[in-house]
């Protein structure tokens, strides 16, 4: 009887594993099969033109890069600063745990809510136009917890003996943080960056009302304050409004490749951290 349950359990688990892998393979397979045919040089290097009746996603590729840049440039100093403050300076335990709780809660909020708040705050209250800047600022709120959490975790693994060593040599606190703490927390910061870039790349809901739907090719500075669709938003537009699923699948494939690349690099860095800790 015991043996029977064991076999049953094993079969069920094996089945679950097969279903998961199968599903993943199916998704990747479909997207590649359907998208591959439509990825052309023209698609990747031009913008959509109604006159020529041609479609291009270059603006959306650029918008994605723009918004990653804007978001990271703003979120990194804030996030790293907050993490450093929490781990190295804050002495009020209650405050620290309150802030940790708040940041953890922020991670669980559905992104469409960030979109709504972003729209209210950045476009209506602060008077920004829909565009990369308003979208980027919204994403800052969204990925800030990720950066803070990863940086903090990494800072906590830096042995106190390094800090003591530096202080005992007459180092001031900030000098100590800059020279022996932060450099040793770099991999955690990097992991946070990659995860954040992944989320930014994949985000659509938070950007609908903030970055907008624009498909025109714009320079970086023009895009900041003009409606600009990122790849994910463009996917939605082409599928939903143009009924053009071919382009959507092509975009999906591009996104898939980016995600894959990001995950691989994240895995490599995490691997390196583990090596270092064990060795």
């Amino acid at each position: 009887m015991r043996k029977f349950t064991e076999i049953l359990l094993k079969t069920v688990m094996r089945l679950a594993a097969i279903i998961t892998c199968g599903l993943l393979a199916y998704i990747i397979g479909t997207i590649f099969m359907r998208g591959f045919r439509f990825i052309t040089f023209e698609l990747l290097t031009t913008q959509t033109s109604y006159l020529n009746d041609s479609i291009g996603i270059l603006p959306n590729i650029l918008n994605t890069i723009y918004i990653i840049l804007v978001t990271m440039v703003i979120v990194l100093p804030i996030g790293i600063g907050a993490a450093v403050y929490l781990t190295e300076y804050a002495s009020n335990r209650h405050l620290v745990s309150l802030i940790s709780f708040a940041t953890e809660t922020l991670t669980g909020i559905p992104s469409i809510l960030f979109g709504l708040v972003g729209m209210l705050f950045f476009t209506q209250l602060m008077g920004l136009k829909q565009g990369i800047l308003a979208g980027g600022l919204t994403l800052v709120m969204m990925v800030l917890p990720t950066i803070v959490a990863n940086t903090r975790e990494s800072l906590l693994t830096v042995p106190d003996s390094y800090r003591e060593g530096a202080l005992a040599l007459g180092s001031g606190k900030w000098h100590m943080i800059r020279t022996v703490v932060l450099p040793n927390a770099l991999d955690g910061i990097l992991t946070g960056c990659i995860l954040s870039i992944g989320r930014i790349t994949g985000e659509s809901a938070a950007l609908l009302f903030t970055a907008g739907f624009g498909l025109r090719l714009l320079s970086f500075f023009d895009a900041l304050q003009s409606s600009s669709a990122t790849l994910t938003v463009a996917l939605y537009i082409y599928a939903n409004e143009h009924g053009n699923f071919d382009v959507s699948y092509a975009i999906a494939m591009v996104l898939m490749l980016i995600t894959l690349l990001l995950n691989l690099s994240a895995a490599r860095i995490t691997g390196k951290i583990k090596d270092r800790r064990n060795g």
Partner: protein
């Protein structure tokens, strides 16, 4: 012999727990003073009050004075950073930074504004020589200090402390994590260094204390029980508790 550090009625609390009780002591220049006593009696705590490393412990509160060269280091107008360059510290567990040997040694001098390759090269070589680790490191200065053995790492840490030219060197059980040969090297080194520096060393090893120190201080439960010439403490202790401890009857 001149007094370099003098403590007067030094009391210390961690929160509500008193860890040091009215310590009066005079530590002499260019001597090795050994701090001995059972675990938890406050040796490390006492050592850390001398370069204000206890400032890092939030709950720590201190009363009394610690005079260093005639100036109270807990008084106003004391620059803790400067104090810590004049009173260096070597920790129980070797703690080189995860950088090259060269950068480890150059850390302190750079911090204090020494620039220029040549000057730094000089300091690095001098410090490593002083710490008796030059021959083992001169061909691999660019390699990570973490790749060295425990004993070598500890001597690198000593060199790192010496690179800022302190007057006093505090050592908290510097050999407890090391093998006998490395221990011997560090003891020999301490004897050499006392020509130029005052050394205060915490040790659990009675032989070590008697081998290298000029003065010995015996702590028990946060009190300084007996303090005197090492010879006298080991051969003719005045307090029965000192006698019990050094002859191994407790602790």
């Amino acid at each position: 012999m001149a007094t370099i550090i003098e403590t007067k009625k030094l009391n210390l609390w961690y929160g509500d727990n008193q860890a040091l009780y009215g310590i009066d002591s005079e530590l002499q220049d260019k001597e090795i003073t050994a701090l001995i006593g059972p675990s938890g009696c406050g040796k490390s705590t006492f050592l850390k009050t001398l370069n204000r490393m206890n400032d890092l412990v939030d709950s720590c509160r201190i009363e009394g004075t610690v005079m260093f060269n005639g100036k109270n280091i807990y008084g106003d107008k004391i620059n803790v950073t400067e104090l810590r360059t004049r009173i260096g510290m070597v920790f129980q567990k070797p703690n080189p930074f995860p950088m090259s040997i060269y950068d480890n040694i150059a850390y302190g001098p750079r911090l204090h504004g020494v620039k220029g390759r040549k000057k730094l090269d000089e300091i690095v070589e001098r410090s490593l020589r002083q710490a008796a680790i030059w021959s083992e490191t001169k061909d691999c200065l660019k390699k990570s200090a973490l790749g060295m053995s425990g004993g070598q790492q500890q001597r690198i840490c000593i060199a790192r402390a010496l690179a800022v030219e302190p007057e006093v060197l505090l050592m908290d059980e510097p050999t407890s994590a090391l093998d006998p040969i490395s221990t011997g090297k560090i003891e020999e080194l301490a004897l050499e260094l006392k020509k130029k520096y005052s050394i205060i060393i915490v040790t659990h090893n009675m032989q070590q204390a008697s081998r290298i120190s000029d003065k010995t201080a015996f702590f028990l439960l946060g009190k300084l029980i007996e303090f005197g010439d090492t010879e006298q403490i080991f051969n003719n202790p005045q307090d029965r508790r000192t006698d019990d401890y050094i002859s191994g009857r407790f602790g």
